[in-house]
C-alpha cells in the first residue's frame, strides 16, 4: 500500500493503475525527459560515453531484473547472452551488410533463442542449481565464438562493427549515439515496467514466490520460465548489439565472467524486484567504476611499491567490498532506500 499524499484521490480505476498518477508525477517526468535530451548538448565526450555505457548496461539490467528479480531464475551467464547478441549483430552487419536497425531486433531474438536453449534446463533445475546451466552457457558462448564459428567470427582476433546508419544519418559520434541509447533505454524500461502489469508479469511474480503453488493454480510454469528467459535475454541481446556498434570492435574479452557476476551482484545492490532497482544497479555500477578509475592514479602515486597493480585490482576490491557491504546492510537494495525516502517525503511531517 503506497502512501498517497493528502488530498490526492483516485476517481477512476485507470488512475489507480497508472504509473504516473498525479500532475506532479507528469511534470517531473516531462522535466526529466527534457533534461535527458537537452543536457547532452553541453556535456563533453567522456561524460557522453559514460552515459551511453550506463544506458546499455541499464538495458541488460532490465533483462536480469526480469529473470532474477521477477521470476527468480538465477542467471550466472548474462554477459554471455549480451555477447551473443553483440556477435549476432556484428556478424549480420559485417558479413551480410544489413542495416543495423533491422539487425537490432534480430540480435535480441538470437540471444533469446540461445536463452531458450539454456532455459530448457529449467525443466529440471531449480533455484540454486540454475547456476549450472547458466554458468556453462557463458563458457559455451566463448567456445562457440572462439572455435566453432571461427570462420565467421575470426575467433580471438575480434570482429569490427560499423556504426549504425539510418537513412543516411550515421550515428558515429558520441552525441548522436547517446540519443540513440537513451531512447532505447526509455523504450525498453517502459516496456519492462508495463510487462510486469500484464498477466505474464503476474505469472512471473507467482513463479518467484512459490512455483509449486503457481503450477497448482494453473500457471504453466515451464512456459513462463522459458518466456522469462527469452524476454530477459532479448534485452541482453539488444544491449549487446547497441554496445558493440558503439565501440565498433568486439572480442570475447569484452564479455568476461566478471561482468556476468557483476550483473547479478549490482542487481541486488540496486534492488531486486523493481525496475527502479535495475536502474539504480546499472547507475551505481558504472558510476562506481568511474570513481575507481578517477581515484586509482592517485592511489598509484601514494603506494609506489605496488605501482601498476593498483589500477587493475582496485576495481575488483572496491566493487566486492561495496557489494558485500550492501548485502549485509541493505539486502533490499538502493531501490528500497529510495522508496523509504519517497515515503518520508509524502508523509512529512508524520512518520507513517
Amino acid at each position: 500500500m503506497k502512501g498517497r499524499p493528502c488530498g490526492v484521490f483516485d476517481v477512476k480505476y485507470s488512475q489507480d493503475r497508472a504509473i504516473l498518477r498525479t500532475k506532479t508525477h507528469w511534470t517531473l517526468f516531462i522535466g526529466f525527459l527534457i533534461l535527458l535530451f537537452t543536457l547532452p548538448l553541453f556535456l563533453n565526450a567522456h561524460l557522453l560515453s559514460l552515459g551511453t555505457i550506463i544506458g546499455t548496461t541499464m538495458i541488460a539490467m532490465f533483462g536480469v531484473q526480469i529473470m532474477v528479480g521477477y521470476t527468480y531464475q538465477i542467471t550466472l551467464g548474462h554477459a554471455g547472452f549480451v555477447g551473443f547478441g553483440a556477435y549476432v549483430s556484428a556478424l549480420l552487419t559485417h558479413h551480410l551488410g544489413w542495416n543495423f536497425f533491422f539487425v537490432l531486433p534480430l540480435a535480441g531474438l538470437g540471444a533469446a533463442m540461445y536463452g531458450l536453449i539454456i532455459g530448457t534446463s529449467t525443466l529440471r533445475c531449480k533455484g540454486l542449481y540454475m547456476v549450472i546451466p547458466t554458468l556453462s552457457a557463458h563458457f559455451i558462448f566463448f567456445y562457440l565464438v572462439n572455435e566453432v564459428f571461427k570462420k565467421w567470427t575470426f575467433g580471438t582476433e575480434g570482429i569490427e562493427c560499423a556504426s549504425p546508419v539510418f537513412f543516411g544519418f550515421a550515428f558515429d559520434n558520441d552525441l548522436s549515439y547517446f540519443y540513440l541509447v537513451a531512447t532505447m533505454t526509455l523504450i525498453v524500461g517502459l516496456a519492462a515496467k508495463n510487462l510486469m502489469r500484464t498477466k505474464c508479469g503476474r505469472a512471473f511474480v507467482a513463479i518467484r514466490d512459490n512455483d509449486v503453488a503457481a503450477e497448482v493454480m494453473g500457471i504453466n510454469i515451464f512456459r513462463y520460465k522459458l518466456l522469462s528467459f527469452a524476454i530477459g535475454n532479448f534485452c541482453a541481446g539488444i544491449s549487446g548489439a547497441l554496445w558493440a556498434h558503439y565501440i565498433t570492435y568486439i572480442n570475447t574479452e569484452f564479455f568476461p565472467v566478471l561482468d556476468t557476476i557483476y550483473y547479478v551482484a549490482f542487481l541486488i545492490v540496486g534492488g531486486m524486484g523493481s525496475i527502479m532497482g535495475a536502474v539504480f544497479g546499472a547507475l551505481f555500477w558504472r558510476l562506481l567504476g568511474e570513481g575507481v578509475n578517477y581515484v586509482a592514479p592517485f592511489l598509484d602515486a601514494v603506494l609506489p611499491m605496488n605501482a601498476g597493480n593498483v589500477i587493475s585490482s582496485m576495481g575488483l576490491i572496491v566493487f566486492s567490498i561495496v557489494t558485500i557491504f550492501f548485502l549485509i546492510r541493505e539486502p533490499r537494495g538502493i531501490a528500497h532506500r529510495w522508496e523509504l525516502f519517497k515515503q518520508s517525503y509524502r508523509l512529512h511531517p508524520f512518520n507513517y
Binding site: V68, Y72, I74, L76, I118, T120, S121, L123, R124, C125, K126, G127, L128, Y129, V131, I132, P133, L135, S136, A137, F139, I140, F142, Y143, N146, E147, V148, K150, N210, V212, A213, V216, V257, L258, I261, V264, A265, I268, M272, N306, G308, N309, V310, S312, S313, M314, G315, L316, I317, F319, S320, I321, T323, I324, L327, I328, P331
Partner: protein, 299 residues
C-alpha cells in the same frame, strides 16, 4: 603396448591427476554446503590467496620448510575465520541468491588483493616441490608430484573421516549438517561449527593450492581451477563427499581426453569447455548431481 594404448593411459593418468585437484577443491565446497547450506562460489579467489600465502612463506620470506608450512596453515585458518565472521555470519538465513553473490564477491576481493600485493607474474614454488622428475613405467610418464598428490589426498580424506567420526566437533558438524535447529536444541554452538567449517574448507584449499601451484605455477590462472572446483561439487552432488571425489576424477578425465583426442577436430578450446558441456547436459539428466539429494518441495 602400442602407441595408442600408451597415449590413452597417459591421458588417463594426467586426467586423474588434475581430477584429484578438482576433487580436493570441490570437497571444500561440499563441506561448506553441507554445514551451512551456502554454495561457496569463492574457491577461485580463496585458492589464489592460499597459493600466494604459501608461496610467500616458502619463497618470498624464505622460512624453513616446516615453519613455512605451519605459517601457511595458520594464515589460511585466520582467513577462513575472518571470512566466516565478517562476511557470512551476517547473512545467515538470507535466501540463497544473497550467498551466491556474496561468495562471488569474496572471490573477486581475494583476486583483487592477490593481484594488488603480488602482481600478475607467475611465481614458482621451489625445486623440491615443483621440480620433481617424472617416473617412467613401461613408457608411461607419471609425474612424481601426482603420486604425492594421491598420497596426501588420501591422508587428508582419512583425517577428515576420523575428524568427523571420532571427535566432538566433528560430530557437532555432522549434526549441524543434518539439521541446524536440532543442533541448536542440543546445545551445539552453531556459529562455532560454521567457523570450523570454513577453516577446514580453507585448509583443504591450501592443500589444493600447494599441488596446483607445483604443477602450474602460482598465478592468476588459478581461479579457473576454483571455477572447476565448484562445477565438480555441483556435478557430484552438493551433499556428498564421495560424489565430489568421483565427479572430480570424471571431470579431470573428460577434460584430458577431450583435450587429447578432440583438440584437432573441435578446436583447442574444447579442453576448457568440455566440463561445461558435460555440466549442461547433466542439468537435464541429474540436476542435483550424481549423488546429491533431490529436493522435494511441498506447498
Amino acid at each position: 603396448m602400442d602407441e595408442r594404448m600408451i597415449t590413452f593411459i597417459q591421458l588417463l593418468i594426467s586426467g586423474i591427476a588434475i581430477g584429484l585437484i578438482y576433487a580436493l577443491a570441490a570437497l571444500g565446497v561440499v563441506i561448506v554446503y553441507k554445514a551451512t547450506k551456502v554454495l561457496n562460489l569463492a574457491p577461485g579467489g580463496l585458492l589464489l590467496v592460499c597459493a600466494y600465502l604459501a608461496w610467500m612463506f616458502l619463497v618470498q620470506l624464505g622460512f624453513p620448510i616446516p615453519i613455512a608450512i605451519a605459517a601457511a596453515i595458520g594464515a589460511t585458518a585466520i582467513i577462513g575465520w575472518f571470512v566466516e565472521r565478517f562476511a557470512l555470519r551476517p547473512l545467515i538465513g538470507q535466501p540463497i541468491l544473497a550467498s551466491i553473490v556474496l561468495t562471488n564477491m569474496i572471490w573477486f576481493f581475494f583476486r583483487g588483493i592477490t593481484f594488488f600485493f603480488w602482481g600478475g607474474n607467475p611465481r614458482m614454488f621451489p625445486k623440491w616441490l615443483a621440480g620433481r622428475p617424472t617416473l617412467f613405467i613401461g613408457g608411461i610418464g607419471i609425474p612424481q608430484i601426482m603420486i604425492w598428490c594421491v598420497v596426501i589426498s588420501a591422508l587428508t580424506i582419512t583425517a577428515l573421516m576420523i575428524y568427523f567420526k571420532f571427535t566432538r566437533s566433528g560430530l557437532a558438524m555432522r549434526v549441524t549438517a543434518e539439521d541446524v535447529i536440532v543442533a541448536e536444541n542440543l546445545g551445539i554452538n552453531v556459529t562455532r561449527v560454521f567457523s570450523n567449517t570454513w577453516i577446514i574448507c580453507l585448509l583443504l584449499f591450501l592443500i589444493t593450492a600447494y599441488f596446483v601451484g607445483a604443477i602450474q605455477g602460482v598465478s592468476q590462472d588459478l581461479d579457473f581451477v576454483g571455477v572447476y572446483g565448484v562445477i565438480v561439487a555441483l556435478l557430484g552432488g552438493l551433499e556428498s563427499f564421495p560424489g565430489a571425489i568421483i565427479a572430480g576424477l570424471v571431470i579431470g578425465i573428460v577434460q584430458s581426453m577431450a583435450g587429447g583426442y578432440f583438440a584437432d577436430v573441435l578446436g583447442g578450446g574444447i579442453a576448457e569447455t568440455a566440463p561445461f558441456i558435460v555440466m549442461f547436459l547433466m542439468s537435464f539428466w541429474r540436476p542435483y548431481g550424481f549423488f546429491g539429494l533431490e529436493r522435494i518441495e511441498r506447498i
